[in-house]
């Protein structure tokens, strides 16, 4: 809709054309303005409610706080519901899983992109075909397996099943295909071995795609709810998001403590949003690298 580049039709007066443009522009900004409010408002409510007392949230769940209090944060950071531990569980699991997933995918992607070997195309095609299979299919057997080897309620049960990502493999491979072979051959001439070529040349060149996959994978593990709910529901290894909905009044046992829940939600969102503010373009281009293959 390249309005500006359109030649002004000769039969239209300049004035009328301008009026139309202003109206269109007004409509466009209104739409975007409304969307801005809709996008931000739930986040604002989360922050506002985290500074209200529980009594106030009940009466005023979506407005400005009448009386600002930090009691919710005190309670989740030090009080009976110590969410800080769960927060660190989330950080630990997401970080380790991401490092391993990126490493394994990059290593395999390098081989698939830059080597010829027997079975390459077959293995790659099989890997792609499995992406149609919903991962949830593996839940019952994996549950039995992890129960048997005593891995339930551990960190490793949250990390190990998530470190292979066919999606990551594919995404990184697509990028590595664009690395010129001459570069690798030159390194080879200079006596670099396979590992050095991977580690010193291919990986540094692939930083953009590795960064993109890092973001996507980290977010997906950070958001991970169903898996830890089933496998790691005991609170000393449980990630933050699994604990959040369970914060209830210890007396009645079923009234949610909204103040703590909102403060905990802020805790779960804050690190991501802070990183997003600094690397927003990286976040958005990760979507593109991940979803759109050109």
């Amino acid at each position: 809709m390249a309005i500006k580049s359109l030649p002004v039709p000769a039969n239209k007066s300049d004035q009328r054309y301008r009026l139309e443009l202003y109206l269109k522009r007004g409509a466009a900004y209104s739409v975007l303005g409304i969307l801005t409010v809709l996008s931000l408002y739930p986040l604002v409510v989360m922050v506002l409610n985290s500074f209200k007392s529980n009594a106030e949230i009940d009466l005023n769940p979506s407005g400005l706080p009448q009386k600002i209090t930090v009691e919710n944060y005190v309670s989740i950071l030090g009080g009976p519901a110590n969410l800080l531990g769960n927060f660190w569980n989330s950080v630990l699991v997401s970080t380790i899983s991401t490092i391993l997933a990126v490493f394994l995918a990059a290593l395999a992607a390098f081989a698939f992109a830059k080597y010829r070997f027997n079975g390459r195309n077959f293995i790659f095609a099989m890997l792609l075909a499995t992406t149609m299979v919903p991962g949830e299919i593996t839940i019952p057997p994996l549950y039995l397996l992890f129960a048997k080897i005593d891995w339930l309620n551990t960190y490793q049960v949250q990390i190990v099943p998530s470190i292979v990502s066919v999606f990551g493999l594919f995404m990184i491979r697509q990028y590595m295909l664009t690395i010129p072979n001459s570069l690798l051959e030159a390194a080879r001439m200079d006596g670099a071995n396979h590992w050095k070529i991977f580690w010193l040349i291919v990986l540094p060149i692939s930083t953009p795609v590795l960064g993109a996959f890092t973001i996507l994978h980290f977010l997906s593990i950070w958001n991970s709810y169903l898996w830890p709910l089933l496998m790691a529901n005991k609170s000393d290894v449980t990630p933050l998001v699994v604990v959040l909905p369970t914060l209830t009044d210890s007396q009645t046992g079923f009234t949610p403590i909204w103040g703590s829940i909102m403060a905990g939600s802020v805790l779960s969102v804050l690190p991501i949003v802070v990183v997003f503010v600094f690397f927003q373009n990286k976040f958005m281009s990760s979507v593109v690298l991940g979803a759109v293959k050109e």
Binding site: V45, S162, V164
Partner: protein, 331 residues
């Protein structure tokens, strides 16, 4: 969307590529660091690629291939998690298909999918066009803000929506002045889930469509403009046909994600003390989890495979629809 769900959303991104071209899969580009293996290649050169893919493949086989096969076998057994399993043929499948909750939850899943699909996809596409148009400035401002909901932790977002839609004092009811029992009525609750899905994913697909739009050669549009095509004509005859593969990708990924929906409806409707919502608003995955919690591992596996079949059918239908439309466009 759940951990693995969102992961597979993205995993599914590869589908159309592999279907619609698969250019390098058959090795026509085939270039190596050099052309390994050579006849007199050093054994290290021959082994190197296998060593590079080994860690990935080993974990993939242990964590995905073997459990998938095992799960398929398990779906024909009655197994409580201990003792001997008993082969019962198709009984698990029959039990599930004749269980009314299965149909309720399948219906819910399809509702969640279809109800958000068009508003989300059309909205995101129009938004991408709008934000790219020369009509507005401030792309750098609007784009990240509309994208922002996508990085909000899903559980946190669902919990906040409980506040927004609370009956007596929630902002929606306060603004409208009507006390609508959003989260107390099952039909309304489902719509809240749909709103949450659209809210959280609008920016994601907008960014995808923006990338698609910017891959269109601007000369095509200019040429059409010179030939007197209106904005709508350019949209309909140039942009949309050229974006067909991206639409297909978006629709398939979104469908697969929708059938694996778990977090949004369950957290949104979580009544304290239970992590699963009531069957009236639950998605299909709840049946798998419910069976697992009851120790019915065979039935849980069977639900998983039914889910798989549904996903395949839905994806196949979409491929067909898009292909047919593609033929029309080319004519």
């Amino acid at each position: 969307m759940a951990n693995r769900l969102s992961k597979s959303l993205k995993e599914a991104a590869i589908l159309p590529a592999s279907v619609a071209g698969g250019e390098e899969v058959d090795g026509s580009t085939g270039s190596g660091i050099t052309t390994y293996p050579k006849r007199n290649a050093h054994w290290g050169d021959v082994l190197a690629p296998y060593i590079f893919i080994a860690p990935f493949l080993i974990f993939f086989v242990i964590m995905f291939v073997v459990p998938s096969i095992y799960s398929f076998g398990l779906s024909f057994f009655r197994y409580k998690g201990y003792g001997e399993g008993r082969f019962i043929g198709l009984d698990n499948y029959i039990a599930i298909l004749s269980y009314h909750v299965f149909w309720t939850e399948l219906g819910n899943t399809i509702f969640y999918w279809l109800a958000h699909l068009l508003p989300l996809m059309i909205g995101a596409f129009l938004l991408a066009i709008l934000i790219r148009s020369k009509l507005i400035k401030g792309q750098a401002f609007f784009k990240p803000i509309i994208f922002l909901p996508n990085i909000i932790t899903i559980v946190a977002a669902a919990l906040v929506y409980q506040s927004l839609f609370s009956t007596r004092y929630g902002v929606i009811n306060t603004l409208s002045g009507i006390q609508i029992p959003w989260l107390e009525n099952d039909d309304l609750t489902k719509w809240v889930v749909v709103i949450l899905l659209i809210w959280r994913n609008l920016g994601w697909w907008m960014v995808v469509y923006l990338a698609g739009l910017s891959s269109i050669n601007p000369e095509l549009e200019e040429a059409a403009t010179v030939d007197g095509a209106s904005a709508m004509q350019r949209l309909y005859y140039i942009i949309i046909p050229l974006m067909r593969n991206i639409f297909l990708l978006a629709f398939v990924i979104d469908a697969i994600g929708s059938f694996r929906l778990f977090v949004e409806p369950n957290v949104l409707t979580s009544r304290a003390g239970s992590s699963l919502g009531t069957p009236e608003v639950s998605p299909l995955l709840n049946l798998l989890i419910g069976n697992l919690n009851n120790g019915s591992f065979g039935q849980a596996s069977a639900v998983g495979w039914i889910l798989f079949v549904i996903v395949i059918i839905v994806a196949a239908i979409q491929f067909r629809i898009f292909r047919e439309n593609g033929v029309e466009v080319n004519e």
